[in-house]
């Protein structure tokens, strides 16, 4: 039942990524918390979502670009981490989420090719308002199923893989999560690069850095 609910969530959030609304509830921060809430571990979901959000801070659904699917990554990571309480569970689940986010991105590319064929067929058959509405219903349904299937397979594969590795994890929980920040730091660097680089933005960035360090220490 839990797998079914999480797969449905994967399908719904997959829709938000491109096809329906783009309210950004498919961002890892939101998807992680929602998956955690459904699985009964909202704070674990928020932690995993926040870490994945750091990694995917520079990944946006722009035009035809292929991007890692953040909702799949977050739902799979939370679902994979939930049954395992060991110190490596979060780190291994985030790694699994990052891998499966790429699989999700690939499936979006396939979906868009399928959409192209369906649109071509509509145009060849002569466009009608009924045909156009049916086209949208069908493509949205396919996208939902795509998200749900990719999520459920990811959860199955991830739980199997984590079951093999997790018991022997040699690092502490705190250190494992800390190690994840090292990779996330790359995304923060990329974002500053996109905003003009350190030379142009050094004063504002340094001011923010000082504020953050002081705030984290004393608030």
């Amino acid at each position: 039942m839990e797998l079914f609910r999480l797969s449905m969530l994967g399908g719904l959030l997959g829709l938000d990524g491109t096809a329906v609304g783009q309210f950004m509830i498919s961002r890892p921060l939101v998807a992680g918390w929602l998956a955690g809430w459904l699985a009964g571990v909202p704070e674990l979901g928020a932690t995993i979502g926040a870490i994945l959000e750091l990694y995917l801070l520079v990944s946006f659904p722009t035009g035809g670009a292929r991007f890692p699917e953040g909702s799949t990554a977050a739902v799979v990571a939370v679902a994979v981490a939930t049954p395992f309480g060991g110190p490596g569970a979060v780190a291994l689940a985030v790694a699994m989420g990052l891998v499966w986010g790429q699989v999700g991105g690939w499936s979006v590319t396939v979906q868009r090719r399928v959409n192209g064929r369906l649109v071509q067929r509509l145009l060849e058959m002569g466009s009608s308002s009924g045909g156009l509405i049916r086209l949208h219903l069908v493509t949205i349904l396919i996208d939902f199923l795509r998200g749900a299937v990719i999520t459920s397979v990811g959860i199955g594969v991830g739980r199997f893989a984590l079951g093999l590795v997790e018991a022997g994890w040699p690092l502490s929980k705190e250190f494992s999560v800390g190690a994840l920040y090292m990779g996330a730091a790359v995304s923060l660097g990329i974002l500053l690069h996109d905003l003009g680089g350190f030379r142009r933005r050094r004063v504002l960035f340094a001011a923010g850095l000082a504020l953050g360090i002081v705030g984290a220490r004393f608030l």
Binding site: G64, V186, I190, G208
Partner: protein
């Protein structure tokens, strides 16, 4: 139309991109304009389902303007040329303002809240509410602008100075990025607490991203996954 515009990417594809969604969103207007002539309706659906691309939120500007032009009886070629002229600016402006500025700004703000110890649901809810105030506001503003200005929407778009808004918000984003980095580094259980080696490696990662840009993302994520897999494998073997 505003509600329908939420599905504008429902049939997004590499050939016609937003085209089918554009026709789908415009359908109530086209039905009204061509109520007496089914052949003209089919022809106009086909024309609007052709290739079109723009940022999904700012596409509402084009939708409003085209709805006005269709209602005013503009000829097909004028509407086609108008759409072609508008799609580049709407794509570029939307990508800069929304994807490259607004989304990361609100996400960084929510992450700062989270690492400052605010409960996860509060940070998440804050992100969703604040982001969508901007998102839905932009869609509604764009549709209204298009409907009011019709084919003169280009001038009104220039006057709105969306690029200037993006630049101003980017200052705030840089500050937020600094605060987020400082919070992760300085929090009691943050990066700084793992000693100089881990903190130093994070700084190396940050510099790699700063220098390499987006080229650095996939290799960095791959290295992270491989390192975690190797630690796991080492744990099993030992």
């Amino acid at each position: 139309m505003l509600f329908r515009s939420l599905l504008i990417q429902g049939a997004w594809n590499y050939g016609t991109m937003l085209g089918p969604g554009f026709a789908f969103t415009l359908l109530p207007v086209l039905r009204r304009v061509h109520a007496e002539d089914p052949a003209a309706l089919a022809s106009s659906i086909e024309r609007h389902a052709e290739h079109f691309n723009a940022h999904p939120y700012l596409a509402s500007v084009a939708l409003g303007a085209v709805a006005r032009m269709e209602s005013d009886g503009a000829d097909n070629e004028t509407v086609r040329r108008f759409k072609t002229a508008l799609r580049g600016p709407l794509g570029g402006l939307g990508d800069t303002l929304v994807w490259a500025t607004w989304l990361p700004l609100v996400a960084v703000g929510a992450l700062v809240l989270y690492w400052f110890g605010v409960p996860g649901w509060v940070a998440t809810l804050t992100f969703v509410v604040v982001y969508n105030v901007g998102h839905l506001g932009l869609r509604a503003w764009g549709l209204r602008l298009g409907l009011e200005a019709g084919r003169d929407v280009g001038t009104r778009l220039t006057e709105a100075d969306l690029g200037g808004w993006a630049r101003r918000l980017q200052h705030l984003l840089v500050l937020g990025l600094g605060v987020l980095s400082g919070t992760i580094l300085g929090a009691p259980d943050g990066l700084g607490s793992f000693g100089p080696v881990v903190a130093g490696l994070a700084v190396v990662g940050f510099v790699a991203g700063l220098v390499g840009g987006h080229r650095a993302w996939r290799p960095a994520a791959a290295v992270m996954v491989v390192v975690i897999a190797l630690i796991g494998a080492w744990g099993i073997l030992s």
